[in-house]
Amino acid sequence: MLSRVANSIYWMNRYVERAENYARFMGVTFNLILDLPPGGQQQWEPMLLASGDNHLFYKHYDKPAPENVLRFISFDPNNPNAVLSCLYKARENARSIREIISKEMWEHLNQFYHRIRELSGKKKWNMDNWQDFFSEVKMGSQLFFGIIDSTITRNEGWHFGRLGRYIERADKTSRFIDVKYFILLPETDFVGSNYDQLQWSAVLKSVSAFNMYRQTHRSINPSEIVEFLVLGREFPRSIYYCLQQAELSLKKIQSDAPLGRPAVKLLGKLLSHLEYSDVNDIFVFGLHEYLDNFQLSLNKVGDAVFDAYFALKPVSESAGTGEQ
């Protein structure tokens, strides 16, 4: 498969997953705000901090007023991670590989993008409009992945798509958990209080994990929630599960090519680190620091994938094939 094509499949998947996760981010923020005692200031900054978009945000806005943050995350053309920007890039990638993907995938993504673009022109938004908007984005993305699932051959391209999607999802789940770190409780006494519990529930809900968590856990408690979302073996948005799926695809891709070894090695190390961690280790290390480290290591995996498959340099080629 052409490197450019693999790259486009990978990014098309990442961008759609990213759009969905930003919609989820907004969901968690809404949830957290509504669960805080009334009268307090709305906290829209934590999600910017957790997603790492705070620097760019303050280049264009003075303060994290709800309207500003919502616009910034949804439609702002200055924000490359805005939902609309993500879908635009996903669609452009899809357009460049139309001969590779299924007709249904293209048609859905095309409509999805045009629908969101149309909404971006709407002037007046109230809070429940925003909630509808974010659930529409979530649905659009889930439908896209459903179409892929039922129309695409399980070949190399399929695995590049999964790799992109799961790497993106692992990163974003780690950031959802981190939002909780940045949210300020009204007073320190609130740690472990009802409010604290409500906020942890909100984190679970933002990744659609509340019901699944409840089926196996009796109480809402931070350490069990973190265990579920970071180390959980079975939940499809837990970091461990995402990396395991990413590894599965990476190994399929790499099977007979020597190029991918560094990426496989880095991902394998990260995965086994998670495999042999328990949740106490995480809290002893510090949850926020742990997630930070994780994100850095995951970026390195992404870089290694890029080096191995998307950015071939002619130099390595002569060395690799022994041609004169």
Partner: protein, 477 residues
């Protein structure tokens, strides 16, 4: 229920493809007319709308880019086909085979011995001053001596019904995807008519194209790719479609690299050698090192690989010499020179401004003529005398006097018409025809082509950017 009827159809002063002047149906259209007049108006309009919807959902589009947001437009289709009877087609086919054979010999000659220039059949400076003449191609011997592998010749039909060649397109003729998709759509519209009529099929074009590309490589299992400038090119859909239909890779220049004397493509498993490139970028952009240093869409060094015979390109670089409109005027002489035959297909009568008498005629009669620049395409650099102001005419007179080499002129020809659905009725609209010709082992003309139609009333401009649509073209067996 109202049935379709051609009773009120006005042929006008034109050659109509479907009817004689006395209203009788021409050969080839009888069955179609019979079936159509058995159908209700509503049914026909439903079919027309369904065809338009299919175009949208198939994504058969060309791109219009504005402010970074992609907008794709469709080229409208009219579901009344253009039908060509077998006898007519056979004559056309012979003429096209003759023309392409001669042009291929001509291109080979001007880049090698230049006999035709030495014998004074074409003035040397006409060839050497042409933008399409690429010096670096001197001495080239492309694989199997084939230069123009894919040709799309533009034909028109004058008021006497004679097919005339308007233009030869030997670089990157486009539009073949419309030919293929229009047929798919019409098969859905008229299954019962297809059953009754013996219409030659076009659907194996991608296979023929692939076979031709494999043939010129000389290898048993060559790696063939389609090279596109990328998604912002207006014909991107076609590039992607052809690659998909042939089952080969669609590459951009950034996918290719020259290394160890070969062209390779970057894949996830490392570099893989490419044997044949169906290039859909202009030849001067192919290689910034050899041709246009400003090109960002080429592959550095690819021309050297080509010269060494380690890659086949279709079409070969340098074929643009035959697209020059002044060279076009010499094609009848080219045919006589190489084949010692009379041309079977005539050119539109052409005045060569470089030749004194012609030039005088053009300057005196510019108001009645169509003047064209030698190297422009797509309706640019043109003066349509009867539709121009005095100022525009005198502007062109000046241009011609300053650089006569760069201009030709032709009488204004009124193109033939085909009935077309306009609102709820049939009206005549002007059409042209672009058949596609492949030259691998031998020259073969695909029995069909792209019929472009000027949808605006009275318009002679069939370009899709200016209100043009298309029709399916049925060649009968």
């Amino acid at each position: 229920m109202k049935l379709n009827s051609f009773d009120g159809y006005d042929i006008g002063m034109f050659f109509d493809e479907m009817f004689f002047l006395n209203g009788k149906t021409r050969e080839g259209y009888e069955t179609f007319r019979e079936e159509l007049e058995r159908m209700s108006k509503e049914e026909l309009l439903d079919k027309q709308h369904a065809a338009e919807r299919t175009l949208h959902s198939m994504g058969i589009t060309f791109n219009v880019y504005s402010e970074g947001q992609g907008i794709e437009r469709i080229m409208p289709i009219d579901i009344i086909p253009r039908i060509i009877a077998k006898k007519e087609w056979t004559a056309l086919e012979k003429g096209l085979i003759q023309r392409v054979t001669a042009l291929n010999l001509f291109i080979d000659d001007v880049y090698n011995e230049q006999r035709i220039l030495k014998d004074g059949v074409i003035p040397r400076h006409v060839v050497e001053s042409s933008k399409g003449f690429l010096k670096p191609c001197m001495g080239l011997k492309p694989p199997k001596d084939r230069w123009c592998h894919i040709t799309g010749t533009d034909l028109i039909r004058d008021d006497k019904g004679e097919f005339l060649v308007l233009e030869d397109n030997l670089r990157c003729p486009s539009g073949v995807s419309y030919m293929l998709e229009n047929r798919e759509i019409l098969k859905k519209s008229y299954p019962q008519i297809f059953e009754r009529m013996d219409i030659q099929h076009v659907s194996n074009y991608p296979i023929r194209l692939l076979e031709m590309l494999q043939y010129i490589s000389g290898k048993s299992n060559p790696r063939v790719v389609v090279l596109t400038p990328g998604i912002y090119n207006s014909a991107y859909f076609e590039h992607s479609y052809l690659a998909q239909q042939m089952g080969v890779e669609l590459v951009e220049s950034s996918d290719l690299i020259v290394s160890n004397g070969r062209v390779k493509m970057r894949t996830t498993k490392g570099f893989e050698t490419v044997d044949v490139i169906y290039r859909r970028i202009d030849d001067t952009f192919l290689d910034a090192k050899a041709f246009n240093p400003q090109s960002l869409i080429g592959v550095d060094g690819i021309f050297d690989v080509y010269k060494s015979g380690r890659i086949a390109l279709a079409n070969a670089p340098g074929t643009g010499i035959a697209d020059d409109k002044v060279v076009y005027a010499y094609v009848p002489r080219i045919i006589r020179y190489y084949l010692d035959e009379e041309p079977l297909l005539n050119n539109v009568h052409t005045y060569i401004c470089e030749e004194k008498e012609d030039c005088k005629y053009v300057l005196d009669n510019i108001e009645q003529l169509v003047v064209k620049e030698a190297n422009e395409a797509g309706g640019y650099g043109m003066l349509i005398g009867p539709k121009s102001t005095k100022d525009e005419c005198s502007e062109f007179r000046k241009r011609i006097q300053n650089n006569p080499r760069n201009y030709i002129a032709q009488p204004t020809i009124s193109l033939s018409r085909v009935p077309t659905i306009v609102e709820e009725d049939f009206e005549g609209r002007h059409v042209d025809l672009r058949p596609y010709i492949l030259y691998g082992e031998k020259v073969e003309v695909i029995p069909g082509g792209l019929t472009r139609v000027a949808l605006r009333k009275g318009s002679l401009v069939v370009n899709s950017s200016q209100g043009g649509g298309s029709k399916d073209t049925w060649v009968l067996d």
